[in-house]
């Protein structure tokens, strides 16, 4: 129960070598692979600007990153000779086809899109990483890890893989069954809804005016790592969980078993945390 996980990876400007997520290495996709073009299927599509990219995968890892402003570039490593092509619809909708079918079957796919593109990925198995695309993103995953960094709004539904979202500029909604959820937000007006059945939920950021954070898990823990600029009311509801508070919250309501109402600062934002058997951990974010 106290298995608190979640080192929040990602984002923030980093050298290229540091941008390779751990799971890439685990699946054997190194930075060197990203630079190698021999043996990879490559395809390019000229576009007018930001696109709405749709991509489905039955198997295989998917990465989407920003690239040139006027093109979509696709590189498929270890694709067993799969041909990649595009299906365009309207002025900005692009779907990827693999041997003419809209479902990736194997390999490691890297897609470069113009910044501010919206991305919609459906993955049955395999990892998904969307880094810095800047538009709204939606990921539906059955198995495999999902990492999202630098999107606008993010909506993720996953069954068994863990989900990490960092640096989203808009609303973040994450739902998993057994995977852990980790969300890091910028600014003080975050809007996050994260729920999981048996995973843990970890949020890191500042919560002030306009902030609304919902974190729910049945058997996992909720961990809040709070920045100094925060000002929020906290409602915690649990059946059998406990609270550890390193932030020294001000208890703001009658203390009843299973319920905690507290405040930090002026109480501008609102954090609602709910567990059934899991614990709530509140701590200060280290500078």
């Amino acid at each position: 129960m106290r298995k608190l996980i979640l080192p929040l990876m990602l984002l923030l400007p980093q050298p290229a070598s540091a941008r390779v997520p751990d799971w890439w290495r685990r699946v054997g996709w190194s930075e060197a692979d990203a630079e190698r073009s021999d043996g990879a299927e490559m395809a390019r599509l000229a576009v007018r600007g930001a696109v709405k990219l749709r991509l489905q995968a039955l198997a295989g890892d998917v990465e989407v990153v920003p690239g040139g402003d006027k093109q979509v570039t696709v590189k498929l490593l270890e694709g067993d000779g799969t041909r990649v092509s595009f299906r365009e619809e309207g002025v900005d909708r692009v779907e990827l086809l693999f041997d003419g079918v809209p479902a990736l079957r194997c390999g490691h796919l890297c897609v470069e899109v113009p910044r501010q593109s919206a991305v919609d990925v459906t993955s049955a198995s395999g990892n998904v990483a969307l880094s810095g695309v800047g538009g709204d993103v939606r990921v539906r995953s059955t198995s495999g890890e999902v990492h999202i960094a630098g999107a606008a709004a993010a909506e993720v539904r996953s069954v068994s893989g863990s989900v990490a979202v960092a640096g989203a500029g808009g609303e973040v909604r994450v739902e998993t069954v057994s995977g852990d959820v980790s969300v890091a937000t910028l600014g003080t007006g975050a809007r996050v809804a994260a729920s999981t059945t048996s995973g843990d939920v970890h949020w890191s950021g500042s919560c002030g005016s306009g902030c609304r954070l919902e974190a729910r898990t049945l058997s996992g823990d909720v961990a809040l790592t709070v920045g100094d600029k925060s000002s929020f009311a906290l409602r915690f509801q649990t059946h059998g969980g406990e609270v550890s508070d390193d932030l020294k919250l001000t208890v703001a309501g009658p203390r009843r078993e299973g319920n905690l109402m507290a405040r930090y600062g002026a109480g501008d934002g609102l954090i609602e945390a709910q567990t059934f058997s899991g614990d709530l951990h509140v701590s200060r974010r280290q500078r």
């Binding site: 909708r93 079957r105 194997c106 059955t142 198995s143 996953s158 893989g161 069954v177 049945l218 058997s219």
Partner: protein, 217 residues
Amino acid sequence: MKCNAEKLEALVDGGLSPEEAAEVQTHAAACADCGEELRWLRSERELMRRRAARDPLPADLWSGVEARLHATPARSWARPLGFSTAVAAAAVLAFLGGRHAAERANPRAPVEVTQAPAARYRTVSMSTTDNDVIDQAEEEWRRAAGELEGLYFKERGRLRGREAEPIEEAMEEARRSIAEARRLAGRDVDARVAVLHSYSNYVQSLHTVVSNLEVVR
């Protein structure tokens, strides 16, 4: 107006006033995203209607809940039954949200619920307890999951090599996780509603996998 998935669903389900419906339709006609979502929702509802016609809901769907609850041992997840039941379960989820709100305002007020398309938009009065309703919803989700699992195993031959392994591991893990959550939740209404959301997530994921399988050779 901006794209609003709830309004699109409500439009398809006949849950909007004529004015609201006109507004949403006008927006969807001009907005590619909403237009596509609306087409998808309509085709999905049509599929569900056809399946419901083939496998109609039992007449005692809402009335025999308690009897079935007490008589029902653990059921097999793989039992294939009507897919339309997922829609009814979704309606129950929506109902529960409204019911909680209504009970906060007036704990003894009778609550009306409008069922989803599978129930032909009938409006019925509900007098059962929350747990009874949740029992029914849970049963419907399990049926939906069972049907989709059945479809998956029917089509899994389209997968190559070891493609099925991670998918089936995820399915197994989800089933285990939901079963454990259900055991943990006992008769706690809030926890059970959370479990229903887990069923919903699992069923939607199964639907996605099965849909993907249908496009590959």
